[in-house]
């Protein structure tokens, strides 16, 4: 599998992806083989259905949101580049990267980008604000049926009230960042990709 995958992936592509995402060569080939195994249509792109076939996602409360996060607005397919770009958000931040990339453009796995990724999961209408409704939806996804809508509503209110500093009754990205500033996002939003 792995060998097949790597043959299909051209070296220059790998290089580009490497540059863009910071994944190592072996990580890229490994993920590419995963990508192809997900790609039932064998057309080099993944559709929503391809993602939805992943069994574990069906029992992940946020599964569908995350699937959506792989697709850019209006797109129905995602190619390997896009796939990797999304995954790159979850690459742990390495020590040497911290300094190196300070000058250049911000890497995909920076704290801000990680937060932004999470933020966009909430922010369905992409107005850069998490409204009460949006929050409620996510909450509803994440809590069990033991909580009634009223409760959930009050939780949402409270959450917004806690984060909202400018009084617009929604959470902007800066507010979101601020609320989570004490959280070790770098760690909590990182996955140890196999080398």
């Amino acid at each position: 599998m792995g060998s097949r995958a790597s043959t299909l992936l051209r070296e220059e592509e790998i290089e580009e992806i490497k540059k863009e995402t910071g994944f190592s060569h072996s990580q890229i080939t490994r993920l590419y083989s995963r990508f192809t195994s997900l790609d039932k249509g064998e057309n080099g792109t993944l559709s929503r259905e391809d993602f939805q076939r992943i069994p574990e996602l069906a029992i992940n409360p946020l599964g569908d949101r995350i699937i959506n996060a792989f697709f850019t607005e209006g797109e129905d397919q995602v190619n390997f580049r896009g796939f990797m770009r999304t995954l790159a958000h979850f690459r742990p931040i390495e020590d040497n990267e911290k300094n190196k990339n300070a000058a250049s453009t911000e890497p995909l796995n920076s704290r801000a980008n990680k937060l932004l990724f999470a933020f966009q999961l909430y922010d369905l209408d992409r107005d850069d604000k998490i409204s009460r409704d949006e929050l409620l939806q996510v909450l509803r996804m994440m809590v069990g049926v033991n909580i009634s809508d009223e409760q959930l509503g009050s939780i949402a209110d409270r959450t917004i009230q806690e984060a909202d500093t400018n009084g617009d009754n929604s959470i902007s990205f800066s507010e979101f960042t601020k609320v989570l500033e004490k959280v070790d996002v770098e760690q909590k939003m990182s996955i140890r990709f196999l080398h």
Binding site: E49, Q52, P55, L121, V143, G144, S148, V185, S190, R192
Partner: protein, 853 residues
């Protein structure tokens, strides 16, 4: 290392001397054999006067003897006469041992003044004997074990035995043997500990009626583990430790709260006593000059080197670790790790245990250890940041949980799984076998969630009472008015019901809850609700994927709910255009909120989910008493479930456990579905392996999955109709469902389509679509039921009140408004309390009051 080399140097000198004195030595031995008795007396006397000197000479003598024997042995070996040598050795050993014992006996006859000296003598004699045996062990593979047994305390013992053998005699092979014996000793100790852990868990399973001996068992069995390990010269400490670790989970669950407290505080007391004693000892010997000898070089070098070597070790190992760790250990961590270490009481105890005869530098070591201990204890120059036990804000709580889910999902997408493969395996094994064997039945079926709530409840009760002790009374007085209810209605209710769940304490709390302006509590509640109800990501809550057995429990319920929801969502989204999706959902949400029917569906679900097991169990019995279930069930899923199981189960079985749970006796079983529901979770599961192939199971199994998915997806795609009203959508949906259930059916032999679909019924999360979603396959029967369901609801609710014999029956909900939340809550609350809290039974009426209001 240093110590060893030092000693080695000493030993070499010793050997040289030995060569010269060998002949004399020979004679001496002869003499000893002959005049052993006299020698014993003599020695005692000598020791009394000049112990150290004697020890020194005796030591040398013995050592010389040993040397000699060893050489003999080697020669013999060369000659190929090992066998004979061994035998000779053994005989000699025995003889000597006997002689020595006799000497001791004689010594005993001597006056009281010699008591002390004799004690020492005994120890010495034994030491000598053991030493020799050990040497044999080193040299002879057969007796290896014996040698190993002697080396108890792991590495320390290994080193000690090297010392005892004498550095000159330690060959390369011995080092490996040392390592091997270290492994055997520690692994053996661990195994002994685990065996006793199993025994302990098993015993405590049956102590329900004699709670008083529970702590006793805990202590005795652990001590027994210690003794057993000691008996076999395995690592006693390890065995004790592992006995504790292994049994912890089961014993904690089995024994009563009081026993737990007893054990805990007894242990704490003992621990601090022991600690105090050893530090007293340490302090005294630091002052007592006869106990140690100062050597500035040794002390200062030791201090320097322990720091250096430790740092080297830590840095090296963390470097390796950091290659695999997600969050690398940073510099500070490493500094802390290299500075902290085992340089306290243990080090001191071990050094004091050194045999002064063999390690003649013992006094120096003692001095060094004391200095090191004092140094590391006193000079805590390191500033370790205090752990901030800050409560996470609600935002953090929610978002972090979201992060976890995201991570899990991304891991799944990226195909990174199996980190916890072995842990999963173990958990499954534990769940399937160990827990069943070692846990009291009533315990191992209880959900963790419930336990957590109980704990939280108790804690809250305490904190609330602390905050305003007299609030309680005033709150009671203010009960009638109940004004506060309006402010945070559902919330209080929920906490009430949670609290009722938990314990008797909650009853009062509930009242307190109603005191207006309890902001703190609100906060707390939010946290509770969130903490308890947020779905747990797989990482924390590992699932066990298994073809044949889906573990019952929280996880399953969660998966089921999420799965249902996701499916519904996907179906919806496939119907509508992608971009409009969220709007659609929102609108559905709204509808859901306002729709009373939906609400009613939600309610029961709630109950079901509390006892996560029922849903699974239902299918089994559902066919048996379909008629019955259509009669009285259907209040909502919950009741439905309860009834089902209850009938097939022998009454007596469920009764005892119910009694255990609540003080109120069960009366007229049929009329009180909810209460019956209580015993079920564990009852049902125990007898027969839960036939739990649900949608989920099919779903999760990878192989099937592909199938199921393909089918479902194809069916999905076939639905290309424009956005339709929810019901229509549901209808459209069902092909997929049936596809799924079809797949589910074949697995368990006993499965019939109807049972599968009823599984759907109970398991599915609360959706509008839900009803039609499930039923299509089963069509006529279920449909009827569905209808009767609604018709019966009022009836049902009237039926419900009777159950609580002791409790004030909640007002039967007026037929028309049966769906309103507050009303429906009553039965649930009642049920909850029945389920959970033993003490709740008597106090219930009071607590119920406020809820109704």
């Amino acid at each position: 290392m240093r110590r060893e080399s030092r000693k080695r140097g000493g030993r070499k000198r010793e050997r040289k001397r030995k060569k010269y004195v060998r002949r004399e030595e020979e004679r001496q031995r002869e003499r000893e054999r002959g005049k052993e008795r006299e020698r014993g007396k003599e020695r005692d006397r000598e020791r009394k006067g000049e112990r150290r000197g004697e020890r020194e000479t005796g030591e040398r003598r013995r050592e010389r003897r040993e040397e000699e024997r060893k050489k003999e042995e080697e020669e013999e070996r060369e000659k190929g006469e090992k066998e004979r040598a061994k035998e000779r050795e053994k005989k000699r050993e025995k003889k000597r041992e006997e002689e020595r014992r006799e000497g001791e006996k004689n010594g005993r006859r001597e006056g009281e003044e010699r008591q002390k000296a004799r004690e020492k003598g005994k120890i010495e004699n034994r030491e000598g004997w053991r030493e020799r045996r050990k040497r044999q062990g080193e040299k002879e593979s057969e007796t290896e074990r014996e040698g190993e047994r002697e080396r108890k305390r792991g590495l320390y013992k290994v080193y000690i035995s090297f010392v005892e053998v004498g550095p000159a005699n330690v060959q390369t092979a011995d080092y490996f043997k040392g390592v091997a014996s270290f492994l055997i000793v520690s692994v053996g100790g661990t195994l002994v500990g685990l065996v006793f852990a199993v025994i302990l868990g098993f015993i405590t399973r049956f102590t329900k009626k004699v709670r008083i001996i529970e702590p006793l068992f805990v202590f005795l069995l652990v001590y027994l583990a210690y003794l057993t390990a000691e008996l076999f010269s395995l690592s006693a400490i390890l065995s004790m430790t592992f006995c504790g670790i292994g049994a912890n989970k089961y014993v904690e669950a089995n024994i009563s709260q009081k026993s737990r407290t007893t054990v805990k505080y007894t242990m704490k007391t003992l621990a601090s006593i022991a600690e105090t004693i050893i530090f007293i000892f340490l302090g005294i010997s630091a002052v007592d000059k006869s106990k140690w000898a100062w050597d500035t070089g040794l002390v200062s070098c030791t201090l320097v080197f322990i720091l250096i070597f430790r740092a080297v070790g830590v840095v090296g190992q963390t470097w390796v670790l950091n290659r695999f760790r997600l969050v690398p250990l940073d510099k500070i961590d490493q500094v802390v790790m290299s500075y902290g270490g085992l340089r306290g009481a243990v080090a001191f105890a071990l050094v004091v245990l050194l045999d002064g005869k063999q390690v003649r530098a013992k006094d120096y070591f003692v001095a060094t250890t004391i200095v090191v201990v004092f140094f590391t204890v006193m000079f805590q120059w390191l500033k370790v940041p205090r752990s901030t036990s800050r409560k996470p804000t609600i935002n953090e709580e929610i978002h972090e949980r979201a992060f976890d889910h995201i991570l899990t999902a991304v891991e799944d997408i990226a195909g990174l799984q199996g980190y916890h493969h072995w842990r999963d395996k173990w958990e499954q094994f534990d769940k399937n076998y160990l827990s069943k064997l070692l846990l009291r039945k009533s315990v191992y079926r209880k959900s963790e969630l419930w336990e957590a709530y109980q704990k939280i409840n108790i804690r809250d009760a305490i904190s609330v009472i602390d905050q305003g002790g007299n609030v309680l009374t005033s709150a009671r007085l203010s009960l009638p008015s109940m004004a506060s209810r309006a402010s945070f209605p559902e919330f209080t209710n929920v906490t009430n019901y949670l609290r009722e769940n938990g314990s008797g304490v909650c009853l009062d709390l509930q009242v307190i809850d109603n005191v207006p302006g309890a902001k703190v509590e609100e906060d707390m509640e939010t946290h509770h609700v969130l903490a308890g109800n947020l779905y747990k990501p797989r990482r924390r809550y590992q699932s066990h994927y298994s073809r044949h057995f889906m573990p019952l429990g929280e996880k399953e319920r969660q998966d089921r709910e999420v799965f249902q929801r996701n499916m519904k969502y996907r179906m919806e989204s496939s119907k509508s255009t992608r971009h409009k999706r969220h709007k659609k959902e929102r609108s559905i949400k709204k509808r859901r909120g306002s729709d009373p029917k939906e609400e009613s569906a939600e309610k029961p679900r709630r109950n079901v989910s509390w006892h996560d097991k029922e849903p699974v169990l239902v299918p089994v019995d559902s066919e048996d008493d379909k008629a019955e279930h259509s009669e009285k069930e259907d209040d909502e899923g919950i009741t439905f479930v309860a009834r089902k199981i209850e009938t097939p189960k022998p009454r007596p079985k469920s009764v005892p456990s119910a009694v255990e749970g609540s003080s109120s006796p069960l009366a007229s079983p049929p009329s009180r579905p909810p209460s019956v529901d209580v015993p079920l979770p564990w009852k049902g599961g125990v007898g027969s392996p839960p036939p739990c192939v649900s949608v989920e199971a099919t779903k999760i199994i990878p192989v099937d999955l592909q199938q199921a998915w393909n089918q479902s997806i194809s069916s999905l795609e076939s639905i290309s109709s424009p956005p339709a009203p929810p019901t229509a959508a549901a209808d459209a949906v069902h092909p997929r469902v049936s596809a799924l259930s079809r797949i589910g059916t074949p697995r368990p032999a006993s499965y019939t389509p109807s049972s599968t679909s009823s599984a759907f019924f109970t398991t599915s999360s609360t959706q509008l679509v839900h009803g039609s979603f499930l039923f299509p396959e089963k069509s006529p029967k279920e449909e009827e039921e569905e209808e009767s369901f609604h018709e019966l609801q009022p009836l049902m609710s009237t039926l419900k009140p009777p159950p609580p014999p002791a409790a004030v029956p909640p007002p039967p909900p007026p037929p028309g408004s049966a769906h309103s939340q507050a009303r429906r809550k009553n039965p649930r609350v009642f049920l909850r309390s029945l389920v959970s809290a033993p003490p709740a039974g008597s106090t219930e009426p009071r607590s119920r009051g406020p809820t109704q209001l």
